[in-house]
Every structure is written in structure tokens, then in C-alpha cells.
Subunit: 313 residues, 2 copies
């Protein structure tokens, strides 16, 4: 375990990959490894990037990574793929991206897919970010498709969250996904060379005035054309300014405390459910569920029974 | 408690409303009430209705409810509003709908909003449905906006799930939200008088052929124009046929067992978190989170400490 952790800290790609797979599969050795790595974390700048499909997030993340590399910083990228019949393409695209950076040891790219259990993806993404942090990556970019609650939770572990929008994708500012407005530290208007960009920006500013509370943070708007590498330097500068601002006011450490408060609650949940799982096999659960469905037992009585077996009540 | 349950079973509107509020607020007496009501549930047909904003779900649900009323059946409607700055209109709209049915004691309409804790809305919707079931409603219509994981969980408690789509809303069949395809027992193409309805239906059938496994259920497609009350009778008939089909094959009872398996796991989670919460106040959690954020303590050690306090380890 110690030599594994040592190799990760030295940036060994295969050791990092194996650690993330161990986390994804929720194997028991993940906890021991993370305990070993934990004291060496907390140094990386974590940037979350979210937005609807088609906004060009992946290209933007690639260009941003290349920018940081030119400045001599090392980069980790976690691309989150919610499982769906339609994401095969995204995973494939990601493999192609990995090849583009294959010759650069200063960049690590990894796709993570949901394993289908509640909160599992947010948890394993956060743990994978700890691994990259311990491996000495200066910047960790976490890319998600902004479609659901899961994604919102994932980006909340970031020090700075970018919400990527594009003008004239057929959707108005009004159709912005619920929750996406509130989590943005910075808005990126990508594909800003498309018609309607000015109007879109005005609309966005107007909606923000309505939605955000009076003394809330006003997220800066940065325009980019990622495919032509335009505005990427400005975006990196804006991310840097945001980092300095929250560092000054102690907001970054408050945000991290808040992050850990939520993570502790999730860890408690996971620990307790594992404990229950040790005393309850699938067949027993199925039998109890059938008894409840047939109204032979009420659900609260069934739960009492399960917890008694686990020695928790 | 018993007289409250009696009043609910007699269909008393104020008692039903008070029960749902108690559930929404997660007040302790909710459990005792649900235990009392539980043996009298399991009779209602639960229909879930989901789809993107703008598909006309609310109007469709209203017309469907009116159809069932004409057939002499009693109806409960639960309209789920995920909290967002943009849902004020939906809640208002719902109040207006309630007034339209105010003179009919055979129909009960209620909006439910999320109280912001994970899984809370799915849980309280399921419990509110039990109350309406015990109150003798023949049909319970649960209406959600199909945008996230929460909504998918909510509709899974239904015996029959309708996914409402509209042709030419700027979005192709390809942009269907991940997960919405897989949960549909029945597709409704609403606003079917709009141009492109035929093409849309062909596209949808083609995509279903790709997405669904060979021996999976092929959801029927029903066309409606809810605003003109067209196709609503056909839809009710299709829902009835689906109910008969799954009743025959024992699929309905398997589905209900599956539902209760998931609900039991959620109830265990809630029970355990309440137990932990009794031994851990917010200030203690905050202190531990701060220690972890400062890397003075690793998160797993913090969790061990919390569980020891709760007497669970």
C-alpha cells in the first residue's frame, strides 16, 4: 500500500490509473490508499466545467489544459460520463483526446462512468480528484454534462465552477437548466463567433440580475471560441482572479469546509449501508419487499427488522 | 392518530392535505400515520407523467383526470415542482388548476416541492401517494418535469409511466434526456396537430429500435392534442390495456416488489441518518469538516469518530 501511494505521489501514470479503477469499483483497498494519500492533498486548484451537450466543453477543457501546460503547470482531467445509451460517443471521443496528449507526461486524462448507485459518481469523482491532487497535479479539470443533480454535486467539489453556454443553440437563456445558474462562479460563452452572441450575453446578464440575490457573487462572463483557441488565455486569467478573490476573503477555505461537511455525510451513509449490507442479503431484502408489496408487513416494521439484524437498533 | 386516519380514509380533503404537509416537512408523526394507513393501500392505479417543460403535461393530466371523472373514477393528482427560481409560475399555474376542479370532491390536486435533501422528494411523493391511495382515489396521477435523476426515481413508483413528447420543439428525438427512453411504458406525442408529427413519430420509433433491447417492452405511441381534448380517451384506453397486460404476466406485482425494495433501502438510509443526527449536532460536524479540510484529520477517521458517538460501530 505504501509503495503504491509513493508511486502515485511520484506521478506514475499506471499507479494513478489503477487507483482510480479501485475507487470506481468501490473496492475495499481504496479507503486504505486514500488514507495514505490524504495528508498530501489540498494543494491542487480544482476547476469544474459543466454545461449542456453541444456547448463544446471537451474542446474548451482541452485548450485550457494546453494553456496551463504552456505555463509549466501539470494538469489532471476527469471527464464524467453519466451512463446512457447515447454516451458511447463521448467516451470514444475522450479516448481520442487522450491520444492527443499521450506524449505529455504532465497531463493525465481519465473518463469516469457512473456505476449506477446513488451518489456513487460524485463520491468516486471526489476521490479520484484526491488521487490526482496527491500525484502533484497543479490544476484538476473536472468536466461534466450539466443535466442533473449528480452533476451539480460533482462540480460542487471544485474551487471554481465554470458553466459553459453557447448562443443560439435553439435554447434561450430562460431554458437554462435549474440549478446551473446558481452554481456558476464564472460563465463561459463559447462559440462566441456565432450570431446572436451579444444578445445572448445581454439576456444572460438580465436573467442573472433577477435570479441572483442582491449581494451574491456576480459571475464574470468570458467569451471563447475554443475550436480556434480564442479567449482561452482570458478564461485562465479569469479563473486565476477568481481564485485570488476567494483566497483573500477566506471563501476558498469556507467552501472546502462545506465540501467536506457534505462528503462526511456521504461517507457515513456509505459506511452504514455497507454495514447493513453485511447482515442482509439480496434474497432477504427481496422477501421483505414482497411482504410489504402484498401488505403483509408495513415498510417501517420491515426496516426495524433489518436494522435489528444488523445490530444497529 | 386513528381518527385522523379514519378521516383520510373517508376522503376528507383537509385531513389529506394535512397528512401530505406532515410528510413534506418530515415530521415524526408522519410515520405513525402511514403505518395506520398502510394496510388500506395498494388498490389505486398509479400513473406517472413526465416530459420536458413545454410539452403540455399539466393540460394533459387535467384532461386525463376529467376523463376518469366522467367514467366515475376518483382521481388524485400530485404535481412535483423541483425547486428552482423558475418554477414560481408552475406552482401558480397549479393553484389555478385547483380552482377549476374546486367544486368536485372526487378530485384532489396537490403541488409538492422539494425540501432540498437528497432523495427527499421521491420519498415524500411516494408517501403522499400512499395517503391518496388510502383515501380511496381510484387513479393517482403523478406529474414531474423530466429533467433529472430525482424525477426518474419519482416516476418509478408508478404502475404505468407516460413520457410526453412534442414534435418540433426545436429538439430532435436524439436530444431526448438520458433515461427518459428507458422508463417509458407509453409515449404520448402531444400537440400532435403541429407540423412534423409524422416525421417525429417515425424518428422516435427508429430510435427505440436502436435503444431498446430486442425482447424489451415496445411502448405504444399515443397521439394527443390535450388543449382540444383530442386523443385523451385513446390514451386512457392505452393506459388501461397496459395495466391489463402487466397484471396478466405478474409484471405489476414484480414492479411493486422492486419499488418496495428500493423504498426499504431509502427508509433504512433515513432511519440511520436520523440516528446519527441525534448524536451529532451541526457545530460538531462543522468542526470535523474543518479539521479534515485543514488535513488535520483524514475523512475516514472523522467518520469513525462520528459513528462511535452514535453507538453504531
Amino acid at each position: 500500500m505504501s509503495s503504491w501511494a509513493e508511486k502515485i505521489r511520484a506521478g506514475d501514470v499506471r499507479s494513478i490509473s489503477r487507483a482510480i479503477t479501485t475507487i470506481e469499483d468501490a473496492r475495499p483497498e481504496a479507503e486504505a490508499l486514500l488514507r495514505e494519500l490524504f495528508p498530501h492533498t489540498g494543494r491542487a486548484a480544482i476547476v469544474g466545467v459543466t454545461g449542456a451537450p453541444g456547448t463544446g466543453k471537451s474542446t474548451l477543457v482541452d485548450r485550457l489544459a494546453a494553456h496551463y501546460r504552456r505555463e509549466g503547470q501539470t494538469v489532471g482531467i476527469l471527464a464524467i460520463d453519466p451512463t446512457s445509451p447515447f454516451t458511447g460517443g463521448a467516451i470514444l471521443g475522450d479516448r481520442i483526446r487522450m491520444q492527443g496528449h499521450a506524449s505529455d507526461p504532465g497531463i493525465f486524462i481519465r473518463s469516469m462512468a457512473t456505476r449506477g448507485w446513488l451518489g456513487g459518481l460524485a463520491q468516486s469523482t471526489a476521490e479520484a480528484a484526491l488521487v490526482l491532487d496527491a500525484a502533484g497535479k497543479d490544476v484538476i479539470l473536472i468536466e461534466t454534462v450539466g443535466v442533473g443533480q449528480d452533476e451539480v454535486e460533482i462540480v460542487r467539489l471544485a474551487d471554481c465552477t465554470l458553466v459553459v453556454l453557447v448562443p443560439g443553440l435553439g435554447d434561450d437563456v430562460q431554458s437554462l437548466k435549474a440549478g446551473l445558474m446558481e452554481i456558476a462562479d464564472l460563465f463561459v460563452i463559447n462559440k462566441a463567433d456565432q450570431p446572436g452572441a451579444d444578445r445572448f450575453e445581454r439576456q444572460l446578464r438580465a436573467v442573472l440580475e433577477i435570479v441572483l440575490e442582491r449581494d451574491a457573487w456576480r459571475p464574470p462572463l468570458v467569451r471563447t471560441v475554443a475550436t480556434e483557441d480564442k479567449g482561452v488565455g482570458d478564461l485562465a486569467a479569469a479563473i486565476g482572479r477568481f481564485g485570488a478573490t476567494i483566497e483573500d476573503g477566506g471563501k476558498r477555505s469556507r467552501r472546502r469546509v462545506e465540501h467536506w461537511r457534505e462528503r462526511l455525510v456521504e461517507l457515513i451513509h456509505r459506511r452504514l449501508m455497507l454495514r447493513v449490507g453485511q447482515h442482509l442479503d439480496a434474497a432477504q431484502l427481496e422477501r421483505l419487499a414482497a411482504a410489504v408489496a402484498a401488505r403483509q408487513k408495513d415498510p417501517f416494521a420491515a426496516v426495524d427488522e433489518i436494522l435489528e439484524k444488523a445490530g444497529i437498533r
